[in-house]
Symmetry: C2
Subunit: 340 residues, 2 copies
């Protein structure tokens, strides 16, 4: 037991190092991105930077802008436009989170009260709109039509994904394929765009752009699979949000979809009562977790995630060996092995 | 009394003709804009065109895209990009309406139930986001960086205006200047952009672009002044929304601001109770209207609107005489004299 604990601890430390390496690689760029972000949310209406800054400051891993910056380095990009693009991508992501929290009526994110919980839905709707508009201003400043087309289409696709997810809520006929479509739109697409967008500022041949798209898309799939798994597993202080939120909100993620398929008659009735009808009693979440464990669902979801991470790794195969490539390959493992 | 009625009727008919003339001028273009709009909101997720189409179909006057198309003609623009820009402007406007109705908790718009009232806030938030993203796709397709910069900045400014308006809600210290700033951002800016944007697709000298900006900005100011006045005056079937909504929601528009300044001690107490504290009893709206009448506030607001409409007219002075110019000059009067 003590050995196992030590093993886990070492594993976590190794995993953290992979994220640290990425942070170190893009550190000076990321500082500049943060300056751009702060500058863009400055406003004569104090309420805007207050609400926007709440979520921006709360931190998160900044994984999307870091991917954007690291892939720019991988393509040997030498200008400064990648800074705007990384900020723009973070704005799209943050706008989505603000509106998501309104839609899900969430009270906590990254361990802090959500903006909608503090200032009300109205502020979150408008500040989300504000950030979305600012993301377009930032990308327009880059003055590259192809880049603009990719980013504006990405933004539409994300919203389609959010809509599909909303419509699948409490719908227990949602299939694994439906789920994979949803997470591809709402999450993987932005990872793909973050990874490839700066290559369009360089002269790298199209197969490299495609490779970065595939890398990001598959990494994003793995990311969301693990994210949804962690909602049935993580320790609150790590994930920031409360474990079990998806269960309580009736969000149909892969753990539920697989459970519905693998459960016996009595368990199926349990899922219908809790997930479909929203009748949740004390102890039901623990019961849900124990079914997931019994049916080996969390383990199998990790295997599903590894399928995508394997594709993401091979996608980078056409790039020459470099420090950047090594760090990006490691970040794939970090995504799958993380506990937060 | 009968004579007065006949006079009003004739006045309304004359006014309607001004709008009809504009519609006729841009008719064939507007049909193409509608095709683009329908095409862009088509989606594999049926719920999106259903919600978006509800508001789009409900109609409204389409004043912004018509201004865009008419001003393109005034500048002798010969291409097809103005169609995308007109659709993009209508999308920005519609997205704003969807989110506005969530923020104001409105139940009716243009005589129909609001989208948030039928399908809930979540749908309205997401479909608003969807339309905003599609508006960026549409403008990106035009492939003109200057046009993109103007439109993306406009979108940010509108949201700032919405935010200021939200923050001024029930705040009776809001001044007339505050109010003018708010309507400039939330309404006039989009009128200005709609009016000038197509000139950037042509070779007209910059003073003509500036003139169109001034025309649109001042027309937009007049439009919103009248809109806010009509909330204390219009007949429900004309305006579509219920008269008195602003009063009930505690929205601080010019009628309230002037009333607060011109009222005696007892009336001031009435405004504080109703607008600031939101304690509204049956008959209070009628009482509010009677104070506005006694203090000649509605008449003076129309004078304020005429101030802006005069500037809008003079702004067009540098354009040569043409059918288009005449129709645009008439539409200024329509905006100020309308009852809906």
């Amino acid at each position: 037991m003590v050995l196992l604990y030590k093993y886990d601890l070492q594993n976590n430390l190794n995993n953290q190092k992979k994220l640290d390496d990425l942070q170190q690689l893009v550190n000076s760029d990321l500082k500049n991105v943060n300056i751009i972000i702060k500058d863009k949310i400055k406003n004569k209406i104090n309420h805007i930077p207050k609400v926007a800054g709440h979520l921006v400051k709360a931190g998160g891993k900044r994984i999307r802008p870091m991917l954007c910056l690291a892939c720019a380095q991988l393509c040997d990009y030498k200008g400064v436009k990648h800074l705007n693009l990384a900020a723009s991508i973070e704005f799209i992501h943050t706008a989505t989170l603000l509106h998501d929290d309104v839609i899900d009526e969430s009270k906590k994110r990254r361990g802090l009260r959500t903006a909608n919980n503090i200032w009300g839905n109205k502020s979150s709707v408008l500040v989300g709109d504000f950030l979305l508009s600012k993301s377009f201003e930032l990308m327009t400043e880059v003055k590259n039509i192809e880049v603009l087309q990719i980013l504006s289409e990405t933004s539409s696709i994300i919203i389609e994904g959010e809509m599909s997810q909303m419509l699948s809520n409490r719908n227990i006929t949602t299939t694994e394929d439906d789920y994979l479509d949803i997470i591809k739109s709402k999450t993987a697409q932005l990872f793909a765009t973050a990874s490839k967008i700066c290559s369009y500022l360089t002269k790298v041949p199209s197969q490299y752009k495609n490779a970065l798209n595939s890398f990001g898309m598959n990494l994003g799939m793995a990311f969301q699979l693990i994210d949804d798994l962690l909602d049935y597993k993580a320790i609150e202080k790590d994930l920031g949000k409360k474990v079990g939120d998806d269960f309580k909100e009736g969000k149909i993620t892969l753990p539920i979809i697989l459970a519905l398929r693998r459960s016996d008659y009595i368990e199926k009735k349990f899922w219908k009562k809790t997930v479909q009808d929203g009748q949740i009693n004390p102890g039901d979440f623990e019961k849900a977790c124990s079914i997931l464990k019994k049916r080996e669902i969390l383990y199998d979801i990790q295997k599903r995630a590894k399928h995508y991470s394997a594709i993401a790794k091979d996608a980078l195969g056409i790039f020459q060996h470099s420090k950047e490539k090594k760090i990006l390959l490691n970040i794939i493992d970090f995504i799958v092995d993380r506990n937060f």
